[in-house]
């Protein structure tokens, strides 16, 4: 693997994470519990789509074969997608979506804090921009998880259930492979493993305030680094890519 190939894959990964979580959050549009929350979820989806656009555009430039961000979003199949599995899981109930937001945005607080120091100027610039936005995502998720967890018996039960179900998808966030190793040598990639301690501490603190128990460490699901996904990603792509698949090169 050359550095160019590694950088292409790394940018795809970051772009795919943002794109797929954005698709999931967008599904809440007009379905959220109340209007302000509807706006909040779609606002965050918008931040994510902007990040996906920037990352995939850069991936296309690094690849150097003239692919645009749209080509990369609409013309790759599941096995060519590298988003973490947690991003593609169906929304579940509102508690489930908020717990995922908490896990992901807490990770991203730490991740983009580091990525903004990358020696790759483009990744650093997108990282700095993203960090500002992620801070709001994190506060939002944290407020809701505490409010629901420390709420009624029913809302507490649902948050606890979501935490239990999502926990095994959090290990993948910190996974690293040859791509990371190669890019880390030149200070381009973030050492994700190093972020785990801080993440656990912050999540533990928040869940304690929410009267939620941390699940015991157990099996962690993996696969996305190799493009192996849950059955859910294909359904997202079939909807998202339909137009470009049915009418290639359609524009308006």
């Amino acid at each position: 693997m050359t550095q160019q190939q590694a950088l292409y894959k790394y940018s795809l990964r970051l772009g795919d994470n943002a794109l797929i979580l954005s698709a999931r959050l967008s599904e809440w549009c007009s379905n959220a519990p109340f209007l302000e929350e509807d706006l909040a979820l779609t606002n965050m989806a918008l931040d994510l789509i902007g990040r996906a656009q920037a990352m995939l555009k850069y991936a296309g430039e690094v690849d150097g074969n003239g692919k645009t961000e749209d080509d990369l979003a609409y013309r790759r199949s599941e096995r060519e997608y590298y988003n973490n599995l947690i991003m593609e899981l169906p929304n579940g109930d509102f508690a489930y979506t908020m717990v995922r937001q908490l896990f992901v945005s807490t990770f991203e607080l730490f991740f983009f804090e580091e990525l903004q120091k990358s020696t790759d100027a483009t990744l650093a610039a997108i990282g700095a921009k993203t960090l500002k936005e992620v801070k709001y995502h994190h506060l939002h998720a944290k407020d809701w998880v505490i409010r629901l967890g420390d709420g009624t018996a029913e809302s507490n039960r649902r948050v606890q259930q979501a935490v239990n179900q999502l926990w095994m998808y959090t290990g993948e966030l910190f996974e690293m492979d040859g791509t990371d190793a190669l890019l880390m040598k030149d200070g381009i990639a973030v050492n994700a493993e190093h972020l785990k301690m801080g993440w656990i501490q912050m999540v533990t603190q928040i869940l304690a305030l929410a009267n939620i128990e941390l699940p015991a460490d157990g099996y962690m699901q993996t696969g996305s680094r190799m493009g192996i996904h849950t059955e859910h990603l294909g359904h997202i792509l079939s909807e998202m890519q339909y137009l470009q698949r049915a009418y290639p090169d359609a524009t308006w």
Binding site: D47, L48, R51
Partner: protein
Amino acid sequence: MVVPRFDKEQILDILATIPDPEIPVVNILEMGMVKDVVIGDDGYEVIITPTYSGCPAVGMITADIRSTLEAKGVVPTTVRMVYDPAWTTDWMTDIAKKKLHDYGIAPPLHSSCNDEMLGNNTITCPRCGSERTRLLSRFGSTACKALYKCDACMEPFEYFKCH
């Protein structure tokens, strides 16, 4: 035919006529979105930066810049988007903040992002001037605004988030 040449100042004057599509009382220069104008041998390049990465107005702003400049004979023009350094509300001019306030949007407080994160900012109601306001939602009708309510005049209002 002699193609007229424009200097940077003339181009900036033209760009100052382009409103922000979502908050039309302010223009794109006052918003701090125009980073530079580069005049080359074969054309003009306008460098802009987005307020938020997913800001849907960017496409329209890009189109507006090109069409407005072309209409004035500033051709050929390209628009390039950069992310570094990341846009901050500190780049908004005082005039822009005053205009936002008069439009009914509470302007961002200067360099107060960390306080804002902790909820320590006091936001003044742009309608009645009261400080008895409270946050309804950190996310408003556009990516750059939060929703507030004034407990004095009871009116809801938007606050341009510090960023």
